[in-house]
Symmetry: C2
Subunit: 198 residues, 2 copies
């Protein structure tokens, strides 16, 4: 039966997203099932499809939520204008998050939209905002360079960190190796390279 007054549309959205997150945290992306999530939030499958276009949409929104949470954490980091320190703090924050939410983080790169479906703009923007944090921290040592160059270095660092988290997530780090240690060495060496570049 229709129960429009039980929850607002927004409340319903959050119920569904949180139910999805719980499933993924426990079983990974594989565990996502429309009927199960509908059941979890006390509605039927039809209502779920009234909220989301399809499962791809739901997963994208859930992943967007994960990006938002990471952004919120990283925003707390106090910047000192010392690139080495600022980056290290950001990286620590980033890696803490991925370490504490491995399955949710994995979902972000495990999930692939169908070929013909472009990544929504609102999603790309969330990613861009995270990148901007790194760019901002890098800026002081790259003051004489073009925006494009700053942007590229930020993206390189981002992708490198990303590689570490993926390999950590799939258990391919060695004994005694942590992504935090590796990332610290990466940042230190890379920033040295930027400072002393010809």
């Amino acid at each position: 039966m229709a129960r429009r007054s039980d929850h607002t549309r927004e409340e319903l959205w959050w119920l569904a997203i949180n139910a999805s997150r719980k499933v993924v945290e426990k079983e990974g992306l594989r565990g996502i099932r429309a009927r199960q999530i509908a059941r979890d939030i006390g509605y039927t499958i039809g209502t779920l499809y009234n909220l989301f276009d399809d499962l791809d949409d739901l997963i994208m929104q859930m992943n967007g939520e994960t990006l938002d949470q990471l952004m919120q954490e990283c925003s707390k980091v106090e910047l000192t204008q010392n690139p080495n320190m600022d980056l290290e703090r950001l990286v620590h924050c980033y890696l803490s998050f991925t370490h504490e939410n491995p399955k949710l983080w994995n979902a972000i790169f495990e999930h692939k939209l169908p070929e013909d479906r472009p990544v929504p703009e609102w999603y790309s923007e969330k990613v861009s905002r995270l990148l901007a944090l790194i760019e901002h921290a890098l800026a002081p040592i790259l003051s004489g360079r073009s925006d494009a160059e700053i942007h590229q270095h930020a993206r390189i660092l981002w992708m490198s960190l990303f590689g570490m988290t993926v390999l950590e997530g799939s258990g391919r780090l060695q004994e005694g190796e942590t992504s935090l240690m590796l990332a610290k060495t990466l940042i230190k060496t890379y920033v040295d390279g930027l400072k002393n570049a010809p």
Copy 2:
């Protein structure tokens, strides 16, 4: 009807793997369908399940084949004992492969076995052999430092390259960005950092 003499078991295996590769090359992992692959090789679904435990098994074997091909390519690289040149050649070979086979490469990281199912040993070995090859070529550039240090820097570079290929494979690079360009900047900057480290 049974046609045991049409193809040997091994021939059948290759037919199925190649059919799967073709599907993935065109449509990505999403496109893999048991019935379709069976049809493609001129047999029925039952025969496919006589060859593979399930679709996870088939995909793992297909991915193993991709790893083998990359290994074969990288093995062709002539080593000159000039670390800089060897490194560049190997990285070029690695990135060329992932660039030319983005969907197949991506399938390796998109696919996740169910939680309770361990990665087969034969698969882990393929990955390890590949990692060892790349580490070995990266290591000489860091001579003069402790083995542990060399090892760590080599792995950091490898993981960073890895992150770029994954993001490239999933279509997350920007317009005009290539993993080769990014990798060159990464390596140049990183090596600068190593040379000029305090």
